[in-house]
Symmetry: C5
Subunit: 271 residues, 5 copies
Amino acid sequence: MEDAVEAHQRPKLERYGDTLFAVFKTVCYVDHEELTANSEVVDTGEIMVFLGEDFVVTVRHGRHGSLGPLREGLESDPGQLAQGPSTVLHAVADHVVDDYLTVIDSVQEDMDQVETDVFAEHGERVDPGRIYQLKRELLELKRAVVPLGRPLEELASRPIRVVAPEIQAYFRDVSDHLQRAKEQIAAFDELLNSILQAHLAQVTVAQNEDMRKITAWAAIVAVPTMICGVYGMNFDHMPELRWRYGYGMVIGVISVACLVLYRAFRRGRWL
Amino acid sequence: MEDAVEAHQRPKLERYGDTLFAVFKTVCYVDHEELTANSEVVDTGEIMVFLGEDFVVTVRHGRHGSLGPLREGLESDPGQLAQGPSTVLHAVADHVVDDYLTVIDSVQEDMDQVETDVFAEHGERVDPGRIYQLKRELLELKRAVVPLGRPLEELASRPIRVVAPEIQAYFRDVSDHLQRAKEQIAAFDELLNSILQAHLAQVTVAQNEDMRKITAWAAIVAVPTMICGVYGMNFDHMPELRWRYGYGMVIGVISVACLVLYRAFRRGRWL
Amino acid sequence: MEDAVEAHQRPKLERYGDTLFAVFKTVCYVDHEELTANSEVVDTGEIMVFLGEDFVVTVRHGRHGSLGPLREGLESDPGQLAQGPSTVLHAVADHVVDDYLTVIDSVQEDMDQVETDVFAEHGERVDPGRIYQLKRELLELKRAVVPLGRPLEELASRPIRVVAPEIQAYFRDVSDHLQRAKEQIAAFDELLNSILQAHLAQVTVAQNEDMRKITAWAAIVAVPTMICGVYGMNFDHMPELRWRYGYGMVIGVISVACLVLYRAFRRGRWL
Amino acid sequence: MEDAVEAHQRPKLERYGDTLFAVFKTVCYVDHEELTANSEVVDTGEIMVFLGEDFVVTVRHGRHGSLGPLREGLESDPGQLAQGPSTVLHAVADHVVDDYLTVIDSVQEDMDQVETDVFAEHGERVDPGRIYQLKRELLELKRAVVPLGRPLEELASRPIRVVAPEIQAYFRDVSDHLQRAKEQIAAFDELLNSILQAHLAQVTVAQNEDMRKITAWAAIVAVPTMICGVYGMNFDHMPELRWRYGYGMVIGVISVACLVLYRAFRRGRWL
Amino acid sequence: MEDAVEAHQRPKLERYGDTLFAVFKTVCYVDHEELTANSEVVDTGEIMVFLGEDFVVTVRHGRHGSLGPLREGLESDPGQLAQGPSTVLHAVADHVVDDYLTVIDSVQEDMDQVETDVFAEHGERVDPGRIYQLKRELLELKRAVVPLGRPLEELASRPIRVVAPEIQAYFRDVSDHLQRAKEQIAAFDELLNSILQAHLAQVTVAQNEDMRKITAWAAIVAVPTMICGVYGMNFDHMPELRWRYGYGMVIGVISVACLVLYRAFRRGRWL
């Protein structure tokens, strides 16, 4: 059993003989002024529950998931506790899953903020790090929520000796809530994907515009280089080279050519 | 209670002892000549309802959601009012959700307009700001509609003391209408995403075409530069430099080369 | 009522006291040799029906939707007409929705043609105008079909005084057919989106290939320009410049360099 | 009736008075060593069935769909034939639809092959013609399978005089199989789309890499050109031009500059 | 029968008279330190089962799928074996499908790892080979799992002589588990697609940034080249060429021009 208490496990439900061992990931929303590329949004902890026929032990890792209020609630309701230790397992599961839904509601606001920013006037200037950060935090949430699905379903559907039948019925409710949490997370995931895709497409368009601008300038510069090249040739017989105002005329031609190009590029919205 | 009356809350339903406190977001479609990047499409307000066993108080923020006609309708039907204050809660919810559907019908026309424009002959010239604006307005609508889902579902399914049982049944209808509004908004969202994606792809194709054109011109200009470079070399023994018509011939060669390139690029549709 | 008869209305169903007023959009497939960027594919008209307890009036706009055969069919079956004027409303709705399905079957062939062309060997040369045209024609069809959904559902589910109960049951069938038409249109829409996306991606790939080719040529041209630049320098002590065959050698070096580059680019499939 | 026997019709089911006329598209998988851009994967033929109350005629176009075994099967089971000519219609439909499923199983392997190739190490070198070919062959299959849906549904659900009621029940099974074939084809279609999209994105990335490489080389070449330009100027007072080792020094500077650039570009993975 | 024992078959279920022949693909997760472009993730083997009315033979290919524990489990439970040889078929199928689910759970962690890496700060530097490798391994898993669907469904729904009716009911459970495995694989597939798409878009953005940088540098270098070109012209009358400090001034102008451009490009985030 000592072995089982180590931290950083995936959510699961195991049976050791008549003892049930459950690992839950608790999550908690971390308040932040504004979402940045490093904002911690979701913080996770762990609660383990050992459940025998006449005992229940809970172990807690991480800052969150204080079970104090839970304990008080249970102790103040002797009728509930009379149904045996599995009441505690249900109370913990219910508490943990309710926290998921609360966290999801808070994450919704971060989603809204990012979506609004990306679809704002100059969405291509949004720091994509924020989208990635939200994606990663969502992944953390997903890793806490999704693996709990199958264990909870089993708790709700298959009779287990250490779980009182009246309690088992309650697990169906918990399982339904978890289902809703999973769906919401999947929806967030898809939404973030399409936001990211839109953002990357915006950035590509802005980059292309820059490229067009730089290349257009380079093309303008290439024209005088070419004209100068002509009069840099060393032919013996190039009458223009002997003209008194040849140099001035060439500078004039170059200036006019550049101006015309500049205007044309402006009109074509290339500059 | 005074605390509860502040503006800018998310839609919700809370119980303070025997009092029910509900926040609704009202929406209203803002008529506009033509959708631009700044058109306000959806305007929102708030209605709060305090419901006790023998009283109901409504508070209204924002220009919309005049409850006058509602009040008249209720007062003219004493049979309905006899079912107690929860009638008013239902009437408000029904009114608010009906407005959602009306607004959605109007937004449909903006969607049609944007879609038609993007898929028109020169869709790449459409101002993407319009798509973004519609997206933002849709987000505002979503923020009003979606959070109402869970409270309404609860009202429809769980018995609450201050809500008369006959009234509760009516809430199922309201909840169904809200569901339809949510689905419609989700469909709009997806449609706008695919419109935006198509538009950005169109713009990329148009930008690439510009780049190809600029680069093709630059490539044409590079050829005379190279030829001039040859005759700009300072070798003692370059017979061409001594020829009487060397200069003219080079200019001729350059002109022909450029013309040939230009024709070739035209044929390849690069220019 | 005169006011109601104006053209260009959205499909709808309204009640004025005991009179029912329905607007249907009729559609008709326009045959065309081949789908081009301007082909008209779908042509629309309007039928309005005023239905009272003992009268029915139909108004028709546009070339299509001749109700002649309908009238004959009804008149030849007195048993049916005995069920009152709502028979006519049903007959019109049934006729209009059946036309939707027929048109959709014909549009399927245009879809097939476009899809085959885009996924042909040189799909990037397909005129995207054809895809846009089909998209626009589909939008027109959508605008005729989709808004009819809610009115028809209401006709099928809520008892209305002017509609005979036996007739009402028939409307469920019409509503089902409309549902199928809506699904088919949604499927077409999605298919066109993915065709367009594939096409734009193909075009981008082809454009990139062009760019690579032009840039590779420009890079080849840059090498002689650089070498000529070296021998265009005015240093007093540049022994090569004094060599008898210096010029020839440089031209040789340049030719070899260009040839090597050309071969390398060919091998790398850049040219 | 002779008119009806012409080839190249879409699958359909029509009634001429008491005669039923059905057109089926038969498909057959064409074995090929390896999928290329021209591989024929699916070959189609046609079977037409004329069904009256006391006769049945079948007409066959194309190489496939030999009905020999079918006939033998039916003739060896007199009990089945006693149910009248509609037994034959069912046997043909069942046979044709079963072939669809068999062909789909074979196409699955082509799909697997293409998918494996595109997601292999150098997927961007895959010939996209193969993806397009598969797409086109799938389209051909789709055109055979999809239009059969509605006729089969009708056969299964609406009583028709020439079809024995016991036989009609069997058509529900055929219709289910066709439904499965349709779903599978739709799944293939979507999969091919995402494969194509991934492939085009890979190609774009590879093209961009090429462009970056070419442009980086051109940028390296531009530096000596610029330096040579400096010493190609004709100022009277340019002390370096008079230095004994000026030329050598410039060549040295140029070489070092190019080397440094080359190294930097290598480190940045641009070359 | 000897013919049937050859390796590398697709999962299937065939009847030879009264003998049932089933091919299962066993899968096994290959542990790896870290996912690389060559990591083997999923290894497959084969189990074949010949089932007659009073005998059962199993043949095993590949390292995995040791049936030892299975045999022991069956032999220790005589009650189960009394139901005849089909018990063994069920035990094998159950065992194989359970392995699928276990492998999928392990693959989930690889998915998580790849997703975390791609959405990390510098996701564009992730080796895409890893995504492709996971995709290929998933394909291998898919090829083992998906074709088993139809045979298992048939086993669960159609009575077969050699399968005891009590056993047949158990196959429904196995079929459900397989269904779950299929869904999970489909979800992984879609997730990998969107990860790959996001990654390729990231890479494109990073490439465009490089291109912009290189082109911006080339544009800066083009300016001195142009200015030098001007003073490389051979006009007789170019007063600047005679100035004592003309050369110095031009170098100064060039330096300032480059610096200004560099600053401007920096400010525009092009460098």
